[in-house]
Amino acid sequence: MYNKNAPPRVPPFTPMLFAGFLIRPIPAFSFKPVVKHVLDRMKKLYPEIFSRLAILENTNFLIRPTDLHYSFHLSVQEGETHVEVRDNSTEHPEFQAVISGPMLDLIRLLEGRVDGDALFFSRTLNIEGDTEAVLTLRNAVDSADVSLVDVMGGPVAFMKPGFDKMLSKIGSVFEQLERDFVTVQQSILLPAARHMREVDEELDRMENRMMKMDKELVKVKTSLKKSSQQVQGAR
């Protein structure tokens, strides 16, 4: 079971973190129509995902973008998949599984542009709770070729090309911003990282010295013990 009392992790330095500050005043329930539109479209476009999710009846997932103030609550009830947005400051119900990571990586995962295991190995993605349920969700989502541009698709046919182009543009702007943020972060952290490396090296040297001293101490103790036994034997 997900540990609700675990301290929150430091959010990653991403464009989503800044975008999140801007949209923070918006109450979670305002996203309801958008989420409903996205979910309905996904059910229509990718029924194979939802047929694979059916076995997760009564499982509650918390999908937590680490750079946003909101989380997604995904559940399957009576064969239907439900998603709602929750404000992180409100009390969450019990969840069987929690998936957390930067929002753009979660989107890439949804679109199958990145491998879930690779994100896990690199510690970008974190999972807690029911691992089997998480794997089932991951495999279900990966079984379709999801495109968020198609999912968001404009309601009127003649608007669609322009709408798709705009969504793609927003996507690529965020991708570029993400790369820029990494550069900025590396540049800010470089002096601190250098200092930490020096401290680490010093600690390693001290640890080695301690280990040598420990070994010496064992030798001295053994030799003392032998001498004491010899003295006792002589008596």
Binding site: G112, D117, D145
Partner: protein
């Protein structure tokens, strides 16, 4: 040189074909294959559609039915072989001698490959499978050097397929039951090593702690790359007192730079491991290997293609193919 690629879902199969796979291997959605993971694998209907797509592109599909049938419960394995034959797949990959015998008798026209799970690694063993069950190809265990593979090929009359990329195991292939001591389930009997239903992750004091069944098997500080939650890659306390990798460190196999030697040795096919991985992994590895094989077959130098981001523990090794620990 044939490039044989994994797919756990129809979308992964499409990704493999788009990336240049010659063959895609898959499994049915049950315990008859060694990647029996939740939400993964193909229904007979999905396999039929996927096979049609592959054949339309001039490619092939193999089906792995490579776990060992359970005493008193043979039907799922017989049914899997019958379904594969009925759908018209290009080959079945089998490990159990009873199942090989069944396939040969019931579907003599169905091409049979010997799975790595059969652990056949010497001429006597391979020639026996050839004469008794008429296997057309053997998938070699990951225990031989390239030189040993070359010598073996000279003594057998069967095509050879070797693993090129993906998960590494320390086990004698097909004989590992380590996972069953902690979970009651093993790869060869149930198709799962460290079944997800027995795996739990927890954030504890700034570390990611992984548990298998009742055992804590690893603990990763937040800046360290993680690996799969298998016992063979767990960190344990030995005589030194500090937890360390007593069996194997988290790492992936990658023999891309040895392609010219494998071609020279007479290997017929290269296998990519990872039916449990996502389609992004499949696309990246398959396109990388497609480029590398095409270059090597033309006698050009193998290009360096970075796969670091998708390897376990973000590290790779040529493992037994080099045996550089000797």
């Amino acid at each position: 040189m044939e490039l044989v690629c994994p797919a756990g879902t129809p979308a992964s199969l499409r990704a493999a074909l788009d990336a240049g796979a010659d063959v895609v291997y898959v499994g049915f959605r049950d315990e008859t294959n060694a990647r029996n993971f939740p939400g993964l694998n193909f229904s007979p209907e999905e396999l039929r559609e996927s096979l049609q797509k592959a054949h339309d592109m001039g490619r092939q599909v193999y089906v792995a039915i490579n776990t060992y049938p359970q005493a008193g419960n043979l039907d799922p394995w017989y049914k899997a072989v019958d379904n594969a034959a009925r759908i018209g797949v290009d080959a079945v990959i089998l490990a159990d001698i009873g199942l090989l015998d069944y396939a040969k008798r019931q579907h003599p026209e169905l091409r049979r490959h010997l799975s790595v799970q059969a652990s056949a690694s010497n001429p006597e063993s391979i020639n026996f499978y050839r004469s008794a069950f008429d296997v057309q190809r053997v998938v070699l265990p990951r225990v031989l050097t390239v030189r040993e593979i070359g010598e073996l090929i000279k003594e057998i009359d069967v095509e050879t397929e070797v693993f090129a990329f993906g998960g590494m195991c320390v086990m004698a292939e097909g004989r590992c039951s380590l996972s069953s001591y902690a979970t009651g389930k093993s790869p060869n009997m149930n198709g799962v090593c460290s079944p997800a239903s027995h795996v739990e992750y927890e954030q504890r004091r700034g570390k990611l702690v992984s548990r298998l069944g009742e055992f804590t098997i690893n603990s990763f500080p937040n800046d360290e790359a993680a690996g799969y939650p298998t016992l063979c890659k767990g960190r344990f306390v030995g005589h030194t007192g500090d937890p360390s990798y007593l069996f194997e460190e988290p790492t992936s196999l990658n023999v891309m730079m040895m392609l010219p030697e494998l071609i020279q040795a007479g290997v017929r096919a290269l296998k990519i491991e990872g039916r449990q991985r996502g389609k992004a992994y499949v696309y990246q590895v398959v396109s990388g290997y497609r480029k590398a094989i095409d270059a090597a077959m033309k006698g050009e130098p193998v290009p360096f293609i970075d796969m670091g981001n998708i390897t376990e523990g973000t590290r790779s090794t040529a493992g037994a193919y080099e045996k550089n620990w000797r």
